[in-house]
């Protein structure tokens, strides 16, 4: 029995001479949250339209719950689309319907009898925390509330897969957090498989368990999020996308960095610790065991895909091979960024 909800096999899509997707393959297991990230024009939208059965790839297969949607006749795509929930960047709510009316629409489309709809709508409103707002018009809601309606609407027909197209890009940071928490909660409680398409690495860091990095229609990374974040070397594209959310050496210090160790100076290192190691008081241990001083200049410990993850820029005095070996036990990807000579 195939446990993958989505299997994308060698999918290519061209528009005239432009190659939007080139031999893209990946799969998503049930209950996973897959983040798909890339710059604009990387092929994210084309991929999403193909996954949502709104567009057909030129070659390759896309299996949703084992069914190849690229060969299905048009008439059978209509019921299939009802198995896929879509959450849009700009919400796309009908202004002519109330909040409850908007959530009712997919139920009407799927032919759910009138008598069964109110109960289902009430449950969905409760799930997204909008029970008191069913009779309001979309124009009366805030952006975050509109997106909650969008999510409730996408969940109406118990989809096998939730596709989120830049679902938080139009929201402010606080609302983004609330919406991501809601998606994570839905994922946990309903075991729903989610694909998030975004250009924001921060979104991926917070909730995606797996990550696909797209660049010019190619997949450049495809692995668990934590593995990509903690990897010693990343592709240039991934590195660039990560740099927005990674701690960086403070500019004043960066100007003073030299390649060679300096006597009485400090070493500046990037320390990344995944899992339980992130909680270890490593810098205190350094002080106790080697009698050196270590200070965090930037960064801290956060959570990625539900696991603790530390990403820090650290300065260490008296940096030597022993200290390096000690630290690489915990962080094989440890990188010495440079040395700062002592003042005067």
């Amino acid at each position: 029995m195939d446990v993958n909800v989505v299997d994308v096999r060698h999918v290519s899509r061209r528009f005239g001479g432009h190659v939007a997707l080139d031999d893209v393959s990946f799969s998503v297991a049930r209950g996973e949250i897959l983040g798909v990230i890339g710059r604009s024009g990387a092929g994210k939208s084309s991929l999403l339209r193909c996954l949502g059965a709104l567009d057909r790839p030129d070659s390759g297969q896309i299996l949703i719950e084992g069914q190849d949607i690229t060969t299905l006749p048009q008439a059978q795509l209509v019921p299939l689309r009802r198995r896929i929930g879509f959450v849009f960047q700009h919400f796309n709510l009908l202004s002519s319907r109330t909040v409850a009316g908007n959530i009712s629409l997919p139920l009407e489309i799927a032919g759910v009898p009138r008598a069964q709809r109110p109960e289902r709508i009430a449950a969905l409103l409760a799930l997204v925390g909008l029970s008191a707002h069913g009779d309001k018009w979309p124009a009366q809601l805030s952006g975050g509330q509109k997106q909650r309606v969008g999510i409730a609407r996408a969940l109406a027909n118990d989809p096998a897969l939730l596709l989120c197209d830049e679902a938080t890009s139009a929201l402010d940071p606080e609302t983004t957090t609330a919406i991501l928490d809601l998606l994570a909660e839905i994922n946990r409680e309903l075991g729903l498989t989610i694909i998030l398409i975004t250009h924001e690495m921060d979104v991926i860091r917070r909730i995606a368990t797996h990550l696909v990095v797209l660049d010019q229609g190619h997949i450049v990374e495809n692995a668990p999020t934590l593995a990509i974040m903690g990897a010693a070397t990343q592709s240039a594209v991934t590195e660039a996308l990560l740099s927005e959310t990674q701690p960086q050496v403070p500019p004043a210090l960066r100007a003073r960095l030299v390649a060679e160790p300096a006597p009485d100076g400090w070493a500046i290192i990037r320390l990344r610790l995944a899992g339980e190691a992130a909680w270890q008081p490593l810098l205190s241990l350094l002080g106790q065991q080697y009698g050196v001083e270590a200070t965090v200049l930037q960064g801290g410990t956060t959570e990625i895909a539900g696991q603790p993850f530390a990403d820090q820029i650290v300065s260490v005095t008296g940096y030597c091979a022993e200290i390096h070996d000690f630290l690489t036990q915990f962080d094989p990807s440890l990188k010495v960024l440079g040395h700062v000579p002592a003042d005067h």
Binding site: R81, F88, N92, L94
Partner: protein, 217 residues
């Protein structure tokens, strides 16, 4: 003011109401489907067929280009076939409708085109059929604009119905011309103009109120 004049005005108001209401109704029944077809057949529409959309647009424009008074005359055989006579209020409804259908179709087309294509996409992605998209997205979302456009159509019809006097259809415009203008009866003419102003103002106010009631954005 004589009893006769009041009777004349009351009767003419009723005739104008009948002509405007009936041809207005037919304008929606004929014009809305035409507008939907023009929008759906455009490039990127629900059933794209740009040549057919262009052809339909051309037919609509030709009908709109013909002066109403000419339309009234060239349609006489058609009117006789449909209504049985080419004279009177009922007969005037045929040319009035035929003028109003393309007029409303163009106005409705503008409102339908203004519906956010992302909404169409959203319902398409939900598994909605073309008919569901028309029924649940295009018409409800465009409704405030359609009502405003219908209001304009009714007022244009009120003006056009004055010419229907040429086929003996009666109505307020006809009364103003025959009694007021041709017989130099300033009192009747002024009265009719006042009644027409009220008639138009009431239609506009009702249309605005309904359109605003339907608008939720």
């Amino acid at each position: 003011m004589s009893r006769l004049i009041i009777d004349l005005i009351a009767r003419a108001t009723w005739e104008t109401t009948i002509m405007v209401a009936c041809s207005g109704l037919l304008a929606v029944l004929g014009g809305l489907p035409l507008a939907l077809l023009m929008v759906a057949m455009r490039r990127g529409g629900l059933m794209p067929c740009p040549p057919a959309a262009r052809l339909l647009g051309l037919v609509v424009d030709i009908l709109r280009a013909i002066p109403f008074i000419i339309l009234l005359v060239i349609l006489i055989p058609v009117t006789r076939m449909i209504v049985g006579t080419s004279l009177g209020t009922a007969a005037a409804i045929v040319p009035l409708s035929l003028a109003a259908i393309p007029y409303f179709a163009r106005i409705a087309e503008v409102s339908l085109r203004a519906v956010d294509p992302n909404l169409v996409d959203a319902v398409h992605a939900m598994g909605g059929t073309r008919w569901m998209i028309v029924r649940h997205v295009l018409i409800p979302e465009a409704l405030p604009g359609l009502v405003a456009g219908f209001t304009v159509t009714l007022i244009t019809l009120t003006g056009a119905s004055a010419m229907a006097g040429a086929v003996g259809a009666g109505g307020l415009g006809d009364l103003a011309i025959r009694y007021g203008y041709q017989r130099f009866n300033t009192q009747v003419m002024s009265l009719v103009v006042v009644v027409l102003i009220v008639f138009v103002a009431v239609i506009q106010a009702a249309g605005n109120a309904l359109s605003n009631h339907l608008r939720h954005d």
